[in-house]
Amino acid sequence: MQAFQFRDAGTVAQTNSTPAAAGGRIVVGENMKNHRNKLLATLALFGASLSHAEYQLNFQQPATSIAQDVYSLHMTLLWICLVIFVIVFGVMFYSIFKHRKSTGHKPADFHESVTVEVVWTVIPLLIVVAMAWQATKVVINQKNTKGADVTVKVTGYQWKWGYDYLDEGFGFHSKLATPQTQYENFGKDSQQVEKKNENYLLEVDNAMVVPVGKKVRLLLTANDVIHSWWVPAFSTKQDAIPGFIRDTWFKADRVGVYRGQCAELCGKDHGFMPIVVNVVSDEDYKKWVSEQKKKAAESADDPNKKWELADLMKRGEKVYQDNCAVCHKPDGKGMGAFPALDGSKIAKGDRSAHVGIVLAGKNAMPGWSKTLSDTEIAAVITYERNAWGNKTGDVVQPSDIKAARK
């Protein structure tokens, strides 16, 4: 887990729970603006220690200036609403208690007053204008993606994220790291349910890494359906739309690990494609970039290599578990609408039909032609044709896939 190697690089920011709930690791840092906040945090810590439960009542602690603006804006709105609430409900409940028939109150018979009606039209109008005025500069700022230091292309897939560092020339996929056995509890009693990880459903295999204090511009798109990239602590949410590029930005103030989730219903595993951003020092970022470049060079496959069955099976199993097992299940038995591959007519029958479905997709199954390389597709098809009971002995080479793409 890359998430941990940066933990000691600076202030720990626990972004997915309250400061209080982070327990011993709470750091009351420069972000806590005054003593009142410290007092509140201490009280919250006391409250949390009384019961283990977590009752976060407000936004996560902001980690960007936009998030700070949104936080303040929301607090202002909340206070305005509260004042109106007290006045309006105060008048109404006064009336409910005083103007009852049971206390002998006789009904008045007024039924209109132009003055009063103009007043209570104009005052709300002024309040609304004041609120919108205050919000305008935040909206304009949110939309200003100019002057980025780092540009990352983010692609939504069913159901994982892809990050391409365009300036550096490498990219990777990022998917849920919580094992299925932790969240699939069907028919298990409370003893059998596996203990959940600390960052259950909010942890990934490869986190996005960005330097602290630098403006990061995200170019978002999607491969299949609409997804939405959202990190609450940054107040950054942008839909990723297939066939189009949208952009947004953030500039993290503090080093730390920040967690979010896909925010647009994108099918079956919409709830299982989290986002993790490691914000690191400039130095650590440079180190990480050079490591990634090295890794990218090493893992590049020669598309003309002739593979042996055993090697393809090994590679194919990994590709299968990373991409296919979520629907067709690790044992190839399928589930519900997702057909079993073990013994299937496709996996045991015509090779070119099998290749065709993997490339182009079918019904709910996405096409993999853009997501996986020739080598990966060759490996996973070879795996599917030889794993479990499908002992066909077929070997599909990357060159076959290359030919099939044409």
Partner: protein
């Protein structure tokens, strides 16, 4: 007025209407059709409620316990569709059918046979939705908004849903035409538009909204259908289409739709509050203008549902300003209701309790609406549980509570029996508390960062989810209590209702006996009666 001709048209089938099941299948009487609509809506409300409880059951604790994610998504989708198109909309059409002719002094709705057809389209549409759960691939699972291109991926369940929406749309449009023609042409002599009961005004404006936007929805889902089966690429970028186009079309329907569900609720509350305050509705004229303003503004705010899709900054700002503006006429309505109560002589029978509950909770939903209207903050809250809390405050506490207010208010007129007042109060307080236990914590979940439409969640969201689930089941049981301990006993018997069960009622429906006879206002009400009631309501 043209009313007289209609009276003679309908008078002849007085004695030979069929009985048994055929009475309902061939129903052309507005009261029978109103009853059919209301029962249909109640059955749909319970079905959608069961789906909601399945959702809450799965979310009771973290981990997947009962339902696979794809089935969970089917529940969230069908819960939304069933409640919007099956429960709330038909319920208000049912109320309009039952009450508009009574309140306007008309013998029936304008197009009695079309009325029959517009109701009987609904059960097949509902059947298509329910059957879709058992077809290969299951029901539609793209959310009630059916966003493309997710909607193009679904199985045959999506096609059934699209056909169901087509049918329900046709039904709504026919119902709306009937309401408009009835209101414009069949009012009692002397009842000018500005002397109509407020419920007639809100029904009229709602009907225009329906006619304007249901075809837009039909267009959107038809385009999904042709994208799915006939090789078009409206929403497929690879073929030159645009997925976001779907959202623009959908929400051009979707936002007025919100007011289609809210305006009749305003109408009901505007009848109930004056009655139990024993004081005329404050600011009748400004109520009418506010309703019309809300309806017009509702066509100019659709993209506030899309602040996160990445619109240009000018569009973000325009839709933010326009949306925030809706708070003004909505505020006027709330102030008017409170001014109606002010210095009245209030009593608190169950309809009044539900109406006050409506004002309180709808205002809460209005506050969260104002927060969401601010685009900068909406970016953070879009597609979170905050939004779920917001629209349930507006639709459950808004539309549903007003429907309960209406049912309790008019039940004596419909059945000829008084409902048991104590049990009605139990139903109100039980629903009120359970509703808030269910939906208030969702504000916190959304603020803390829990997305909506997920079958499983990170562990820090557990406590509030558990609380919401407990509240939801309590709310569900309250509605079963309503059915078996209030509704059915009142229909079967109970204390006889007088013609005027409510001291403060000043509209025409209280001028006919309880229960309302099969045919009413075959002779239009006398001009003097209409003038007297208008004067009592201070309408001029």
């Amino acid at each position: 007025m043209t009313t007289a001709t209609h009276v003679t048209d309908h008078a002849h089938d007085h004695h030979d209407h069929p009985s048994g099941i055929m009475r309902w299948v061939t129903a052309t009487n507005h009261k029978d059709i109103g009853t059919l609509y209301l029962w249909f809506a109640f059955i749909m409300f319970l079905s959608g409620g069961v789906m909601a409880l399945c959702i809450r059951l799965e979310l009771f604790q973290p981990g997947l316990q009962y339902f696979r994610p794809e089935l969970f998504n089917q529940f969230t989708t069908l819960h939304g569709l069933v409640m919007v198109f099956g429960a709330i909309m038909p319920a208000f059409t049912g109320l309009a059918n039952w009450m508009l002719p009574l309140m306007l002094g008309a013998p029936d709705m304008a197009f009695a046979r079309m009325n029959n057809w517009s109701f009987w389209l609904l059960p097949p549409a509902a059947a298509l939705l329910m059957i879709s759960f058992v077809v290969p691939g299951g029901a539609a699972a793209a959310g009630w908004t059916l966003y493309a291109p997710l909607a193009t991926q679904m199985g045959v369940g999506m096609d059934l849903t699209i056909f169901a929406i087509h049918i329900m749309g046709i039904s709504s449009i026919m119902g709306a035409i009937n309401i408009i023609v009835t209101i414009l042409n069949m009012r009692a002599p002397g009842m000018t538009l500005m002397k109509m009961p407020m419920f007639a005004w809100t029904s009229l404006i709602t009907a225009y909204l329906l006619i304007a936007v249901m075809p837009v929805l039909a267009g959107a889902v038809t385009m999904v259908l042709t994208d799915r089966h006939f090789g078009t690429n409206f929403f497929n970028a690879a073929g030159g289409g645009d997925p976001v186009l779907y959202q623009h079309i959908f929400w051009f329907f979707g936002h007025p739709e919100v007011y289609i569900m809210a305006l009749p609720a305003f109408g009901v509350v505007s009848q109930v509050i004056p009655t139990f305050s024993r004081k005329p509705l404050f600011g009748y004229h400004s109520m009418v203008y506010a309703t019309a303003s809300i309806a017009i503004l509702s066509f100019m705010v659709w993209a506030h549902h899309m602040f996160a899709v990445g619109m240009p900054v000018t569009a973000q700002l325009f839709f933010m300003y326009a949306t925030a503006l809706i708070a003004v006429p909505t505020g006027v309505k709330v102030f008017n209701w409170i001014a109606t109560m002010w210095k009245g002589a209030m009593t608190f029978e169950t309809p009044m309790l539900f109406a006050i509950g409506f004002v309180c909770l709808f205002t809460m939903g209005g506050f969260s609406g104002v927060v969401l209207s601010i685009a900068a903050v909406d970016i953070q809250l879009q597609d979170t549980y905050y939004v779920v809390a917001h629209f349930h405050y507006v639709l459950v506490a808004g539309a549903l509570f007003s429907l309960f207010a209406a049912v309790y208010y008019w039940l004596p007129k419909w059945t000829g029996h008084m409902y048991p007042e104590g049990r009605g109060k139990v139903h109100f307080w039980w629903s009120m508390i359970a509703f808030n236990v269910t939906f208030f914590p969702m504000h916190f979940l959304g603020l803390a960062g829990m997305p909506r439409r997920i079958p499983d969640y990170a562990t820090q969201f557990t406590e509030f989810n558990t609380m919401a689930t407990v509240g939801a089941f309590a709310f569900g049981i309250a509605q079963v209590y309503f059915l078996f301990f209030v509704l059915l006993p009142t229909i079967k018997g109970g204390q006889k209702a007088p013609q005027r069960p409510w001291e403060g009622g000043q509209t025409l429906e209280w001028e006919v006996p309880s229960p309302a006879p099969f045919h009413t206002w075959e002779e239009p009400p006398a001009r003097e009666l209409v003038d007297k009631l208008s004067a009592e309501q201070k309408l001029h």
